[in-house]
């Protein structure tokens, strides 16, 4: 039995560690993958799942530890090398060339190593069509630019399937897929597993693990927690392993019986040409309002429209009953309406600039004498004061933000919002890529701000977060508000139903 299991192991990792500066992304983790199994890898954001996969794919080099493929020790130093070993990786982010056809994208890896000088377009289109037939209705001659996000995701998967791989890594591939597309994908995964291909499936959706996977491994804070047979465990046990210590009071207390106060912000019939239509809602003093919905439903677009960060919107926005006419986001900040970006590294922070310079960026004038000469001491005081308030951990205030951990970077981004004493804060995925501890702290801060009378709107793709933090949640579907839930109605099932039911309703009618 034992030896059979051992020879069945295709990939084994022992005592592997990887750190980035002072942050231990992986600490002595072990992991094994059997031939023909679908192995779920679960854990919260920042648990180390992606780091481990990047090590397996040769993108990152481990600091210590060993990796065995078919019992032989290997060191994989590049994705190209991983490909030679038969390891395919479908990343969460789409990395296709937008101006090239679907077929060319699918065979990019093959053409780059091919000796033929000329491209045989007809041949690759033909072969691409064959692979795509199993995945969905996608024209191999179409430019990738013209596809929807979910179609692009399927092209990514098709690309991995063309490589003759023994190990296929899928990093949250269903995040952008519809339910039906996801089911198709699971069918393909089971076919591949039956043919002896091993699949590592990264997800944090319990339903997907329990419907499709054979075993599940849980990581938390860079450490290996457990590997379990799916048949012998329960979703509750997996979640406990994922969350670990603070399962009871993960979220701060809500409003409870208190009634929310006056209307802070009112939005009436807000529309944008392509992205959303007829959005109306009210935000009251003291409450935390959530926005739920699938990726691409238009949640971020709505709040960015309100702040005038993008899009040409029509409709009315009233702040404390006063209609707003904002020409650009700068005026929105002046009125006290600020937006925390979902993409902290891309557009939320100036990574190579100091903590102090980041915190003061929204209104540099306030740390300047006579409004234009920067007073470095005042700038440091502003950042230090907010840093203390948010329990920010840093060496010194002149340190570049890139040196901080994800959670502390997010606190700097929040400090930046608070530096202008805002009246309304829109937070887009405020705890993405943040560890469990910092996450709870951010939630506590949001509740404190709400109590102090700041309007708080949270957009999140993690339904448990919305349920835990918000007093009321608006569900957005295809650019419209599909429903509002509060109190006992705030369940994952109900919100998922509202977020995704559109399709079925259309089919029924």
């Amino acid at each position: 039995m034992n030896s059979a299991a051992a020879s069945d192991t295709i990939l084994a990792i022992t005592e592997l560690s990887k750190s980035f500066g002072a942050v231990h992304a992986l600490r002595n983790v072990s992991f094994d993958l059997r031939r023909g199994e679908i192995h779920a890898l679960a854990g919260e954001n920042g648990a180390g799942k992606s780091t481990l996969m990047n090590v397996i794919d040769g993108i990152l080099q481990p600091d210590s530890g060993q990796m065995f493929l078919d019992g032989k020790e290997v060191r994989i130093t590049s994705p190209a090398m991983a490909q030679k070993f038969g390891i395919g990786f479908v990343h969460q982010e789409i990395a296709l060339c937008p101006d090239v056809t679907v077929a060319e994208n699918i065979f990019m890896g093959v053409t780059s190593t091919s000796r033929a000088a000329l491209m045989d377009y007809r041949d690759i289109e033909h072969r691409a069509a064959e692979i795509l037939r199993r995945l969905g209705d996608i024209d191999p001659a179409a430019l990738v630019r013209t596809l929807s996000i979910s179609q692009q995701q399927l092209v990514e998967i098709a690309k991995a399937l063309t490589l003759d791989c023994r190990v296929l890594i899928l990093d949250e591939p269903t995040a952008a897929l519809t339910e039906r597309e996801a089911q198709t994908l699971f069918g393909i995964m089971r076919d591949l597993a039956a043919r002896g291909i091993s699949i590592i499936y990264i997800t944090h959706r319990m339903a997907e693990i329990f419907d499709n996977c054979d075993r599940v491994t849980v990581f938390r804070d860079g450490e290996f927690i457990t590997t379990m047979n799916v048949a012998e465990t329960t979703p509750g046990a997996v979640v406990s392993a994922m969350v670990g210590r603070v399962i009871d009071n993960l979220y701060p207390p809500k409003l409870g019986e208190e009634e929310p106060g006056d209307i802070i912000l009112e939005v009436r019939n807000l529309s944008e040409r392509r992205r959303f239509a007829e959005v109306s809602f009210q935000l009251r003093r003291g409450e935390i309002l959530g926005f739920a919905g699938l990726i691409g439903a238009g949640r971020s677009e709505i709040v960015r429209g309100i702040c005038r960060l993008e899009g040409e919107v029509t409709g009315e926005v009233l702040l404390h009953g006063e209609p707003l006419r904002l020409a650009h986001y700068g005026e929105s900040i002046d009125k006290g309406i600020v937006y925390l970006s979902e993409d902290r590294k891309g557009d939320g922070l100036f990574l190579d600039m100091s903590i102090a310079a980041n915190v003061s960026a929204l209104r540099v004038e306030q740390i300047a004498t006579r409004g234009f000469i920067i007073d470095e001491r005042r700038e440091a005081e502003l950042a230090e004061g907010l840093g203390t308030r948010l329990n920010l951990k840093y060496g010194h205030i002149g340190q570049p933000v890139s040196a901080l951990s994800g959670g502390n970077q997010q606190k700097v981004a929040i400090a930046k919002m608070l530096s202008v004493n805002p009246r309304v804060i829109f937070l887009d995925e405020p705890t993405r890529g943040v560890d469990v501890g910092a996450k709870a702290e951010i939630h506590r801060i949001l509740r404190e701000l709400a109590r102090a009378g700041v309007g708080i709107v949270v957009i999140s793709s993690e339904l448990p977060e919305l349920i835990g933090v918000c007093d009321r949640v608006l569900v957005v579907r295809e650019g419209r508000i599909a429903g509002e839930v509060s109190g006992a109605e705030m369940t994952e099932d109900h919100m998922m139903y509202l977020a995704s039911i559109g399709e079925e309703q259309r089919l029924a009618s």
Partner: protein
């Protein structure tokens, strides 16, 4: 609580001081290299450490230094300008032609600077409104401006022998023993260095260059910032062109060919990055001085002018390589 805060403050002050020292390391390094060159050269050539040579060297980099200031600010905002040499020459030609047609040199100079500012605004328009890249737009303007210079003069230098002495004073005169050119240069450098370090306006230039998207998400109107830095760079070229005219007493349509490379090299050696977000005026000026001292030294040592370009290029490559590794280690 209060104790913790003051402790924290002290720590961060001390550390901030250390950080500032670190940031100045490049400047310190450049100063040391320049001093080293001075020492070596004063032994190698008896002419090097003479007042005449110092003066000639300072005159050589002072006017170009004004252009370096504009380029550095533009680089920090994430842009680049290849047209600086031709626009500088165009300022000379415009002012020279107007003067020859009977206008007084002061008004002619102001019109020439205004014309260069307008050229910068035009480039800013193409970059921020049309959405073209700085490199392409300024490449086109480089050629166009040079064409205008040649068209206006028929390709021959304009002799401006009748320039009044009080105008020539800008380029040739001295206050005490200090040439006026140097005085102007120092004033420009000190003013812009202070503004770049301390004013909110130029802080926004850093934000924009560091990450244009993050700047837009901080309510900064990044297009306006880039438009203004592009315009400023050309305006400073105009100023430099007018000073050159006063210094040479002529307007040379072929002046400043290859100047853009020298100016960009100086800014980059001084710490500016082509990807924006970093750079200092002091560093860029030290870069200019270094290049100028090297040129002067090579000339005094009778090294062929052809070697000079090779050596300048190598200095640029080394500076950027060192910087790349320092950045990598920090990241």
């Amino acid at each position: 609580m209060a104790i913790a805060t003051s402790d924290n403050e002290q720590r961060s002050r001390g550390a901030a001081g250390g950080m500032r020292r670190l940031l100045r390391m490049r400047e310190t390094g450049l100063i040391l290299i320049i001093l080293l060159l001075f020492v070596v050269m004063s032994f190698a050539s008896e002419y090097f450490l003479t007042w005449a040579n110092m003066r000639a060297m300072a005159m050589a980099f002072a006017v170009e230094g004004i252009v370096v200031v504009g380029m550095t600010i533009l680089l920090i905002s994430g842009g680049i300008d290849l047209s600086v040499g031709s626009v500088t020459a165009l300022a000379m030609v415009i002012a020279g032609l107007l003067f020859l047609n009977g206008m007084d040199p002061w008004t002619a100079s102001i019109i020439a600077i205004a014309a260069c500012t307008a050229i910068g605004a035009g480039m800013g328009f193409f970059v921020t409104r049309v959405g073209l890249h700085h490199f392409i737009v300024s490449l086109a303007v480089m050629v166009i401006a040079r064409g205008l210079c040649l068209l206006g003069t028929g390709g021959r230098p304009l002799g401006l022998f009748t320039l009044p002495p009080e105008f020539k004073f800008i380029g040739q005169g001295s206050i005490g023993v200090i040439p006026v050119v140097i005085v102007i240069f120092v004033v420009v450098v000190v003013a812009f260095d202070f503004m770049l370090r301390r004013t909110t306006m130029f802080r926004k230039v850093f934000y924009t260059g560091s990450s244009e998207k993050a700047a837009a998400y901080s309510g900064i109107r990044t297009k306006k910032v880039v438009f203004l830095t592009t315009t400023l760079c050309s305006a400073l070229c105009g100023v430099a062109g007018v000073i050159y005219m006063a210094r040479f007493g002529s307007a040379q349509p072929t002046f400043g060919i290859g100047m853009e490379l020298n100016v960009i090299a100086a800014a980059v050696i001084g710490g500016a990055s082509l990807s924006g977000g970093t750079g200092t005026i002091l560093g860029a000026i030290l870069g200019t001085i270094l290049l100028s001292v090297v040129s002067s030294s090579l000339a005094l040592l009778d090294v062929s002018v052809y070697w000079q370009d090779i050596i300048r290029g190598s200095i640029l490559l080394s500076a950027v390589t060192i910087d790349h590794y320092l950045n990598k280690r920090r990241g």
